[in-house]
Symmetry: C2
Subunit: 400 residues, 2 copies
C-alpha cells in the first residue's frame, strides 16, 4: 500500500480523487501496489463530501507523516505551493503537479532537489492537460535530436478562434460568450494575451534543449487583435488562424515565441479545433509527430496527475530520467527569425506597399477599401521596418 496526499481540493484535486477512485483497479495494477489517499489538504471544510474525513488544514501533518510517499500538488500558484513542494522533496516525498506556473519558474531547482533526495518531481499535467507530452518527450523520443516544438497549448483561445472562424464573429463577442459558458475566466488576460501558452512552451522548450528557458524571455503576443476580416482573408488563402506556441533550434540559435499564425490545411495543427490542444514535435530522424487531446478540464488534467502518481509509485527510491538543467538558455531575439507575413494595408497604400515590400503575392478577398498580400520570406526586423515605412492595418505571421 502506498499512501499519498492531495494538496488542494479544487477542480483538479477533486478530479485526482475521482480518477483514483473510479479507475482503482487499473491504477493499482499498473502501480504494482495499492494507492491510498490518506490526506487531502485544503483550507476549506467539505461537509457531506465522501472524503470529508481525509481533509486536513495543516500541511505539517502531511509533511511529517513518514508513511506519505507521494503528494499531488493541485493548488496552483507559487505560494505556498513552492515551499510545500520543496519541503516534501527534501524529505524524499515525490510530488506530481498540475501547476504550470511553479514548474515554469522553479522547475529545474525542484527537479534537482528531488533527484538529490532520490525522489521525483513530475509535471505531465502542467502542459496540455490530458495530452501525454512530457513523458513522450522524456521517454519516447530519446533517439531524436528534437529541433522544433509547435503547439496549440491554450484551450480558451483555441475555442475563441474556432468560434470566430465558424461564425464570422468578433473577438469581444465570442469572448463574452465563452465567459458565460465557463470556457474563459472572468479575467481572461492570462489566456487571451498568451501568458498561459507562454508558461507551457517555456516548459516544453526547456525539455527540448535540456536547459532552462525562462518564460520571461519568450516573445508573447495574444489574439485580441484578430478580427473577422482576418479570417475572411485566411479562408481565401485556404488557411486558418491559430495561437501557436513555438520553439525552434536553427543553426545553434534557440527561438521561442507565442503569437497568432496563419497555417494551411495541410498542417497537422489545422484540424485542432475548439478546446482541443495539440503539440507537434520535430525530430531529426522522425520528422513530425503530433500529440492531440483535451488540453484542460478536470478529469483529463487529473488523469495526467495520476499517471505521474503511477510512475512515482513504480520508482519509489529511484530517480526517473528528466534532463532540465538550471543553466539558462540565451534565446535569440525573434527579430532575427525569418518567415513570410500576411499584411493588410489601406487601398490607397497599394502602390507604396508594392514598392517597399517588392515581391508579394496579392490576396483577393471580399474586404472593401483594403489591399492585402503575403510577403516573401524576411526577418522580423526587416519586416517591421518596412511595415512602419508603409503604415499597415495589420499583419499575421505565416507558419509553413
Amino acid at each position: 500500500m502506498i499512501q499519498i496526499a492531495v494538496m488542494g481540493y479544487g477542480t483538479v484535486g477533486s478530479g485526482v480523487v475521482e480518477v483514483i477512485e473510479k479507475n482503482k483497479e487499473e491504477i493499482n495494477k499498473k502501480s504494482g501496489e495499492d494507492i491510498n489517499i490518506k490526506y487531502i489538504l485544503d483550507l476549506r471544510e467539505f461537509p457531506g463530501d465522501p472524503y470529508a474525513d481525509k481533509v486536513v488544514h495543516d500541511v505539517e501533518l502531511i509533511l511529517n507523516d513518514p508513511e506519505i510517499k507521494i503528494i499531488c500538488e493541485t493548488m496552483g500558484g507559487l505560494k505556498p505551493a513552492y515551499d510545500f513542494t520543496k519541503r516534501a522533496l527534501m524529505s524524499g516525498i515525490s510530488v506530481c503537479t498540475s501547476n504550470k506556473e511553479l514548474v515554469a519558474v522553479h522547475g529545474p531547482e525542484l527537479i534537482e532537489i528531488a533527484h538529490a533526495n532520490k525522489c521525483n518531481y513530475l509535471f505531465e499535467a502542467s502542459v496540455g492537460g490530458g495530452i501525454p507530452i512530457i513523458r513522450p518527450l522524456n521517454y519516447s523520443l530519446t533517439a531524436e535530436k528534437i529541433d522544433g516544438i509547435t503547439g496549440i497549448l491554450n484551450g480558451t483561445t483555441n475555442y475563441i478562434l474556432s468560434k470566430m472562424e465558424k461564425e464570422g464573429a468578433d473577438f469581444g463577442e465570442v469572448l463574452k460568450e465563452a465567459q458565460e459558458k465557463g470556457y474563459a475566466e472572468r479575467n481572461p488576460e492570462a489566456d487571451v494575451e498568451g501568458y498561459d501558452a507562454c508558461r507551457k512552451i517555456a516548459i516544453l522548450s526547456s525539455l527540448m534543449c535540456g536547459k532552462n528557458v525562462k518564460y520571461q524571455d519568450i516573445y508573447t503576443e495574444g489574439i485580441t487583435k484578430i478580427t473577422p476580416a482576418d479570417f475572411v482573408y485566411a479562408h481565401a488563402m485556404g488557411k486558418t488562424i491559430k495561437l501557436l506556441a513555438q520553439s525552434k533550434e536553427k543553426e545553434g540559435c534557440f527561438y521561442a515565441m507565442v503569437a497568432p499564425f496563419m497555417i494551411s490545411k495541410s498542417h497537422p495543427l489545422y484540424m485542432v479545433n475548439d478546446v482541443f490542444n495539440a503539440v507537434c514535435v520535430h525530430g531529426n530522424m522522425l520528422g513530425d509527430s503530433m500529440y492531440y487531446g483535451r488540453g484542460a478540464g478536470k478529469l483529463p488534467t487529473a488523469s495526467a496527475v495520476v499517471s505521474d502518481v503511477v510512475d512515482c509509485a513504480r520508482h519509489i527510491g529511484k530517480v526517473i530520467m528528466c534532463f532540465w538543467d538550471s543553466q539558462d538558455v540565451a534565446l535569440t531575439n525573434i527579430d532575427q527569425a525569418s518567415r513570410r507575413f500576411f499584411v493588410r494595408v489601406a487601398l490607397e497604400k497599394e502602390s507604396q506597399a508594392l514598392q517597399v515590400f517588392e515581391s508579394v503575392s496579392v490576396i483577393e478577398a471580399p474586404i472593401e477599401g483594403e489591399f492585402a498580400f503575403v510577403t516573401d520570406e524576411m526577418t522580423e526586423k526587416e519586416f517591421n521596418e518596412k511595415a512602419e515605412e508603409v503604415g499597415i492595418i495589420g499583419r499575421i505571421r505565416i507558419e509553413e
Copy 2:
C-alpha cells in the same frame, strides 16, 4: 559502455546503425552510458560499408558473448527471428524489435521469458513506425481505463486512398503508381488486404486489455473494392474513406476489426493523409487523445527501435512494466456490432431498398443509375440480411 548487436542489416537495421551514429550524443546522454554496436548479424557481406568490420554471419558469436546486453532484431519474419529472440532473452539479453509479425504471434510468450530473465522485450517500432504509441499506452495512459483504439496503421493503403480521393483515380491505377514509386510492394497483398494493419491492431488491442488478442480472430477487410464513385459520395457527405483498424470494449465485449470506413471532417483521423499514420485512443477519463506521425520509413522506424534501446539501457537487470498476458481474449463476432452503413444500390432498386431498410438518409451525388443512402444504426448481422435481400452494389461502414 553498453555493447549491443543489430540482427539484420536491411532497411531498418542499417537505419538503427545510422540513428545511433548520428544522434550519439543525445542517445548516450539519455541512456546514462555510451551505447556501442559490437556486432551486425547478416548473411550478406557489405564490402566498403563503414561498419563492414562489425558484420558477422554466425548468431552464436552474439548469443555467447557475455558483453552483449541488448539486441536490435530488425530481421523480420518468424524464422529464425523467433529462435534468436527466445535464446537471447533466456540469456538475459534484452531485445528491441521492429518485427510486428513476431510480436503479434509470440508477443506474450517472449515478454514472459524476458521478465523471468530480468530483461525486456520491447516493440515500439512494431506499430506505427515512428509514432510513439506503445510507450504512451504502457506508461502515460496508466490512470485510464482504455475502451477504444482506432488507427490508420498502414501507410501504403493510406497513400492509395489519399491519392484516389485527390485525383479521382482508380484503385488499380494508383496502386501501380505507388509500386513504381516504391510506396507499395510488388506483392501488395499484406497492405491492401489489411493484413499488416491487422497484425498491428492485434498488438494494440492486446495492450489495451492486458490479454492476448490473436490476429487470426480479427475481422479484416482491405481496400481493393473501394472505387472513385465511393469518394464522390463521401465528398457529397463531407466525409472521406480511411482504412481503420479498430478495437473497442463495450459492456464487457471486445470487438476488433480492420475495414474501410467513412469518417467525417470533425474526426481527428480525417486529416491523416498520404504515408502518415495515427492512432486515436479513447480513455474513460481523458476522452480522445491522438498520436500522429510517420508510420513507416527507414529512419522513423529505426528511431523507435533505438528509443527502446535507450529504455533497455536504463533498465539493465530490471523489468519494464508491460501487461500482456498469454490468456487469449474471446472477441465478440462483429455480427453483433452496431453502426450506420453507407449503401449503393441500382436505381431500379430504390423503392425495394427503402422498404427493406425503412428509415434512411438519401445521399445526392452525380453518379448515374444509382440510388445511395445511409442506414440507421443496426447490427452487422441485420445489415447483411437486408443487403442480401435487396442486392446492393456496395457498402461502406460509417465511423461516428
